[in-house]
């Protein structure tokens, strides 16, 4: 029983994730194929839209994988292949959006929110420190206030 369980677990260690890339698509040159895999992880499948073409089984994803490999074999640089796809499908085809004027909010927005938050916390802490200093030495009561307190205390005594 234990032995079977152990064997089962051992075999499970050797399983690989299912791949969308079909053996026939792969390039003979392992270095080039590795580059193709890395590059296709950055290209969005336009059909499924939340998968890379490396993960997707869609027909278009396969066509794009094959196209990408053809261009790699032809000697294109990674940037050239990305540019080729962006010219046809727009920036959306890249899973990592490029840094440019229209995406500044996307890239630097979180940083901006963080800075604003830090300023807010700093202001809050500084104010609280100021507030503590005041409460340690409260303003002395005015003569009028002293008289009112005395009157209220007298009233209390008389009732008791």
């Amino acid at each position: 029983m234990m032995r079977n369980l152990f064997l089962g677990l051992l075999l499970a260690c050797f399983t690989l994730p299912a791949l969308a890339v079909e053996p026939a698509e792969m390039l003979k040159d392992p270095a080039l194929e590795a580059r193709a895999r890395e590059l296709s992880k950055e290209i969005r499948c336009l059909v499924c839209q939340n998968q890379s073409i490396d993960d997707s089984n869609a027909g278009l994803a396969k066509d794009l994988r094959v196209l990408l490999r053809e261009r790699l074999v032809a000697g294109d640089r990674d940037a050239e292949i990305k540019e080729f796809l962006v010219e046809r499908y727009g920036d959306f085809v890249l899973l990592k959006p490029p840094v440019k004027a229209s995406t500044y909010v996307l890239w630097y927005g979180p940083l901006g929110v963080g800075v604003l938050g830090a300023i807010g916390v700093a202001v809050f802490l500084l104010r609280r420190r100021g507030g503590d200093a005041e409460s340690v030495t409260p303003a002395p009561l005015s003569d009028e206030e002293e008289r009112r307190i005395a009157a209220l205390l007298d009233e209390q005594d008389r009732k008791a």
Binding site: L46, V47, Q49, G59, L60, D63, L64, L67, V86, E87, R88, Y89, G90, F92
Partner: protein, 181 residues
């Protein structure tokens, strides 16, 4: 001033809520992508003819007049759904139609056109889908409005509807024709 500061989170919430609500209210499908090829020359491919008695599509055939270029395939369900609209357009002679048969078996495509009717003036075959990639097609059916200079002016993703035709495509056709004449 500091009182107004308390309204800031509410304001931020309103902006974010608006950002996500407006597309829902205007029924904008976020999966539909704008074409980056708008106002750019349509890709010139030499696409062989599907039918013997109807020409294919050469690089120069997209120039000269305003036309709709429709990517279709016999295996594509939504293409079947939009076909009556294409037939109606052809019958009315509203605008010339050019078909590009996308990754299809020729026999299947010919049979499909025999069954449902052939609205196209020309049909090119894109058997490996390479021309479609150059057009930025990501799912058939897709329909492109190409002007007389051969530039892409509009793209409709998915099956054509009467509403899309009447509200957008046909008025644009008129506009382009008027601009030219």
């Amino acid at each position: 001033m500091s009182r107004l500061l308390y309204l800031l989170p509410l304001l931020i919430f309103a902006v974010i809520a608006g950002y996500f609500t407006i597309p829902i209210l205007t029924k904008k499908d976020p999966r539909l992508l704008p074409s980056v090829l708008i106002d750019k020359p349509a890709p010139g491919h030499d696409l062989p003819a599907l039918l013997q008695d109807k020409p294919g599509l050469g690089p120069e055939d997209l120039k000269g007049e305003v036309k709709l270029v429709n990517f279709f395939a016999s295996w594509c369900g939504p293409c079947r759904a939009e076909h009556p609209i294409l037939m109606r357009l052809a019958a009315e002679g509203a605008v010339p139609l050019v078909g590009i048969n996308y990754k299809d078996r020729p026999e299947a495509a010919i049979g499909w056109l025999r069954e449902l009717g052939d609205p196209f003036g020309r049909i090119g075959t894109d058997s490996d889908g390479r021309a479609a990639i150059d057009w930025g097609v990501y799912g058939v059916p897709e329909t492109y409005l190409v002007d007389a200079a051969g530039h892409i002016r509009y793209r409709h993703v998915g099956p054509l509807t009467g509403q899309a035709l009447n509200d957008t495509l046909l008025p644009m056709v008129e506009q382009l024709r008027a601009g030219k004449g």
